[in-house]
Symmetry: C2
Subunit: 473 residues, 2 copies
């Protein structure tokens, strides 16, 4: 059960209904692929965020960039909102139709358009998911590393500037999107970037779009960097007596410049949750879950360095996932952490944080946060892409007890303020959406947010592209 939008966000609810003439036009063009059924609309009007708002007025399943452009042209003519929909896995209310409008479902745009293995690039439609992509390119010996927990669509991942467990080595969507096809707010189709690895040709529209959360245009085709599957891969878990020891190990590994591919923290609560959910028997204390990529000799060197650092911080012996199957089991469990964690408190919802700080500040940020949440008495678990300085606290609340939500929101607020004081960001990978608008102002300052808003108003003068997200109005 979800909660209504909190009072300070209520003014965002400002419906601009899709007029019957436009619905008729959509039905004439899209037939069965245009739906006003309540169940379909409700499915498209929510994501993993905890709020309920009225659903979009209509859902259209598009098959091509031209179809998306046709929908947006109609929306422009009628000045009604459009909200791109991929896999529905965003966390910050990106999909909530606070002003009504059209949900453009891109899940049928799930074709890999071209692979250029010799250039380490691929071009996909926006509805392709990260797992689908990796399945379909496996035969090339290449892979795409960015892996948010959910099997998100690559359009959604681009829109939120997503990352995941491999970002410490391979970067985020910011570094890995080379080029885009975008439907603009007026329904024009433009192309940004090229397949060249670098360019100084004018403004970096690709990176302006990446992270724009659907508010500047609809990304319909995406060209991505790929990487050779490493010759050797080794994954290990290492348990520590305290979170402080695990974090200090991480800090030193990064500062040494070890090219570790994944460096994930699970606190004791998170380990307990994945043990239950995935039938594992990991030691239920703070744990680093690590992966090393390279040549056999290179991986061996990395491991020796990290084992030595971990040993200096009371790390127990590394336990190895020797086979690909064991590795997959371990990382699948890690990717289940969110769902597993929810089962720690039946019927709960999670309020999830996403701060990211410079690595030297990670211990301070994380340990003060743990002390605060311990004191609050709320159940919680922590997972973190700690190699990046990014971690998530999930506060587990009973949605029927307002006091629990208030406590979680207060803790989140305190954590964000702390991260900002430590030169960090309120969101490492989830985006602003509905939930973090006021944090964005604290972080970037009114002047920078004004500049964002000026860009938004110039590129979307009727405010039809996913309105009410990132900033109000």
């Amino acid at each position: 059960m979800n909660a209504p939008l909190p009072a300070h966000l209520q003014p965002l609810l400002d419906p601009r209904p899709v007029p019957p003439a436009m619905i008729d036009a959509l039905k004439a063009r899209f037939g069965d692929r245009c739906s006003t059924a309540l169940a379909v609309r409700e499915q498209h009007g929510r994501d993993e965020s905890p709020f309920d708002v009225p659903p979009p007025d209509v859902v259209v399943y598009c098959d091509s960039t031209d179809e998306v452009a046709a929908v947006v042209k109609l929306a422009d003519a009628h000045a009604v909102p459009v909200i791109p929909y991929g896999a529905g896995s965003s966390l910050e209310g990106h999909l909530l139709a606070v002003q009504g409008g059209v949900s453009i479902d891109l899940s049928r745009m799930n074709r890999i358009l071209s692979i250029q293995p010799e250039d380490l690039t691929v071009t996909v439609q926006a509805g392709v998911t990260r797992m689908q992509l990796n399945n379909e390119i496996r035969h090339t010996g290449l892979f795409f590393p960015i892996d948010p927990g959910a099997d998100a669509s690559l359009g959604g991942m681009s829109a939120t500037r997503a990352s995941g467990t491999n970002a410490v080595r391979y970067g985020t969507m910011r570094e890995n999107v080379l080029a885009l096809t975008v439907v603009t707010a007026s329904g024009e189709v433009i192309h940004t970037g090229t397949r060249a690895r670098k360019s100084s040709a004018g403004y970096d529209l690709t990176r302006l779009m990446v992270g724009s959360e659907g508010t500047l245009g609809v990304m319909t085709e995406i060209t991505l960097k790929l990487f050779p599957q490493p010759e050797a891969v080794m994954a290990a878990v290492c348990s520590f007596p305290t979170i402080a020891d695990a974090v200090q190990t991480t800090i030193e590994v990064i500062q040494m410049g070890v090219p570790i591919a994944r460096c994930e923290l699970l606190d004791g609560n998170a380990v307990k949750a994945v043990n239950r959910h995935d039938k594992l028997s990991l030691r239920e204390s703070p744990m680093l879950l690590m992966e090393f990529h390279g040549t056999p000799a290179g991986v061996k060197e990395q491991i020796e360095t990290v084992e030595q650092i971990a040993g200096e911080h009371q790390g127990l012996a590394f336990e190895w996932a020797e086979t690909p199957e064991e590795r997959t089991r371990l990382w699948t469990a890690r990717h289940h952490a969110y769902l597993s964690g929810l089962q720690l408190k039946p019927g709960c919802r999670a309020v999830t944080t996403d701060t990211c700080v410079p690595i030297s500040r990670l211990a301070e940020c994380l340990l003060d946060t743990v002390a605060e949440v311990d004191e609050s008495g709320l159940p919680y678990f922590i997972v973190g892409h700690v190699g990046d300085g990014n971690f998530h606290v999930a506060y587990l609340i009973d949605p029927n007890i307002p006091a629990e939500r208030e406590t979680a929101e207060r803790l989140n607020h305190q954590l964000v303020q702390r991260a900002l004081q430590l030169d960090g960001t309120c969101t490492g990978e989830h985006g602003i959406g509905l939930h973090k608008m006021e944090f964005l102002v604290s972080e970037a300052g009114a002047g920078a947010v004004d500049m964002m808003r000026t860009v938004k108003r110039a590129l979307d003068p009727k405010n039809i592209m996913n309105p009410g997200k990132i900033f109000a109005g």
Copy 2:
């Protein structure tokens, strides 16, 4: 001797003179640091591009962000242009005052503001040059890898989205700028980004500014990523009988995923030039100049792989620069290639290209280009960051012979069209400036350029920020 602006660019010359009242106000505030002397203005009204236009009306040497903001506020009030000036080393006419105005000289803003070695970050004023930065941080064991040929300022490098010889491994300014302080067109001071390694907090204003060539704001402070100095560094040259062999070697090295740090091509002409200029005795045939970074064992592995690939393509035995001094000598010679090359034809100017293509297309792009220039009879040399698919042909022309310039421009045009057909870009690292405006339209399409122009007009409604660059009007 430079040439006048070509006919098709003449309409850009549209002076908006700085009124006497504003000059008086600048002199009152800046005293000796405000100059209207012709020699000073002329020095600030040119760069490495081959065109002469009238100089800016006044030059102001700023010491702080607040001073830059004060100049821009005055320029805004009087609606006159401002052009940020760093080291004067840009290649595409970025500094040419086609509409007159104020040159803001940032070279006195040359302080390193803070170093955080434990986070691998540094914050500098925009006038710090890349060599100064590396000298001042050497004691930390860290370095900043981006190295255009000139000792450019980090502000200028950010403005042109520069790269250089290390980009194949460490990325370009796009990947290495974390945060900025920017003076906007209205003279406000804003901050973009944070020191966190990743963020999803709103539009990526940092990357909108990087590569904007002074047209959206003046970058005054820059936070950069740093890298640990590698434990082992090995540099080698390998000569090949043909450019085709050298390029095919490069392609295979990149496709294998070898983390080579530098992979530079010099054609026989370029080798001859650096031999003369830097008193070296390199074999005067096509050559790859390579550098390997890593642990001793890792470097050894990389070298074995690359030696094997080179051997399959008629590469001669690697010659090693064993000591740091020898390496410095070799890379200094490489960085002198442009100046050395000019001496191949006394009194000449160079018309320089900057295309970048996907690596699989590099051989086709480069070899067809060589055939064309050989047929033209113009002297030339080629250097290339071929690991990125980026190379520069320098056509050596007598500025007093219009036919030579026309030939060079025709060859450049043909090369750009070829690169675009091969999914590449007209500029890998130099920027658009005055020279490549029509190439930008060919590359990005009218729709994307319109989007850039819309952003420009929204953020700089009086068109005072380096007007007439990237796009006309």
